[in-house]
Symmetry: C2
Subunit: 199 residues, 2 copies
DNA sequence: GTCTATACCGTGATAGAC
DNA sequence: GTCTATCACGGTATAGAC
């Protein structure tokens, strides 16, 4: 049974987490105070602790929820019957889509994973990193084996370049701006697959 | 006249700045305390203030010194008589070389420019950013005009991808590791210019 | 050039009234 | 569910002895 109060509580919780995510992304986790979050939410700092144990719990919930969704998308691509090149393209497109829909979460993960990863509570961040590497390496290996990609590729370096260039776009991409995430993904894939030199 | 004391002072100053740069790069500027810097230097926190006005002065000196050198290198490339493609290659190589020789400084600029840029004292960071954009846009424009690069390039997006991929490498590149900065630059230029797809 | 001592403030978190 | 009041801690920076 779901009462009206339960739902209101969940909505409020999500609302507060959204406000916190925006601040964590903009100013950094440690650099954002619980008073900042409370001010932006129109309540007092003490009231936040009615909803959450601690500031850590807030960022924990933000990151784990997001990653569950993202890796679900990657798994769908890996499990599909598409050819290697299409899968690689899909993975890039899904990543830019994540930047579009969850830019705060992406930014937090990019900026704070190193710092947070030092606490046992956030050990899963390192696991997710390894999981992400596995996805891209698989896609690149399949691409080379199927002949879609150059045989002389340095897979490890190529992985790093793709990963870095995709996620760092969160620093400048703004949803609702002149560039759509589809356009950015297309242009990026054009550069990545075909290069920028003439002929 | 340069006395022995002056020189010892400069050495000590440079030594302390180097230690601070490592901590700022690793933990972030705000997240690094003056006590952290003092501990790592084997002195008391109060003693730091004999050498520097404030924590801000330290990061200021670290960043401005580094950028003066980096943009000197870019200017040399722009002023050279090389063709467009060679200039672009040289700019990429010089950037990876900067990551190799000054990774702390690069990391600090990458991670803290947004935060520090909000203070008037660090307004020059935004100017340096604009200057950097001007360098890359010039190189790309010349490349397209001379026929070295594809005529259908989205110059602005290409600039962002190059900038991002080059500088984000500071997150994983380690001097003295198995990869040299020359090797990384070569591989990156190969991907950038020729793409990763087969044929 | 480094030390000790300390002023002063912002921080995360708690307790209990409403 | 929010408020006020409060606490213990750690932060930057200063003063003055050695």
């Amino acid at each position: 049974m779901t009462t009206r109060e339960d739902e209101a509580g969940r909505n409020r919780r999500a609302e507060l987490l959204g406000i916190a995510a925006g601040l964590f992304a903009e100013k950094g986790f440690k650099n954002t105070t619980v008073r900042d979050i409370a001010d932006a939410s129109g309540i007092q700092s003490g009231s936040l602790y009615h909803h959450f144990d601690s500031k850590e719990s807030m960022v924990d919930e933000i990151l784990s929820t997001f990653q569950e969704e993202l890796f679900g998308s990657y798994d769908q691509i890996l499990d599909s019957v598409d050819d290697a090149r299409t899968k690689l393209e899909r993975a890039v497109q899904v990543s830019f889509e994540a930047i579009d829909r969850h830019r705060h979460e992406v930014a937090i993960f990019q900026n704070e994973a190193d710092y947070l990863g030092a606490f046992e509570r956030f050990a899963y961040l390192a696991e997710r990193n390894a999981q992400s590497r596995a996805v891209w390496i698989t896609l690149l290996d399949d691409g080379v084996r199927s002949g879609a990609l150059r045989a002389d590729l340095d897979i490890e370096l190529t992985y790093r370049f793709i990963r870095d260039t995709v996620w760092v776009a969160v620093k400048w991409y703004r949803p609702g701006g002149t560039l759509t995430h589809e356009h950015v993904a297309d242009q990026y894939l054009h550069i990545l697959l075909d290069g920028i030199s003439h002929g």
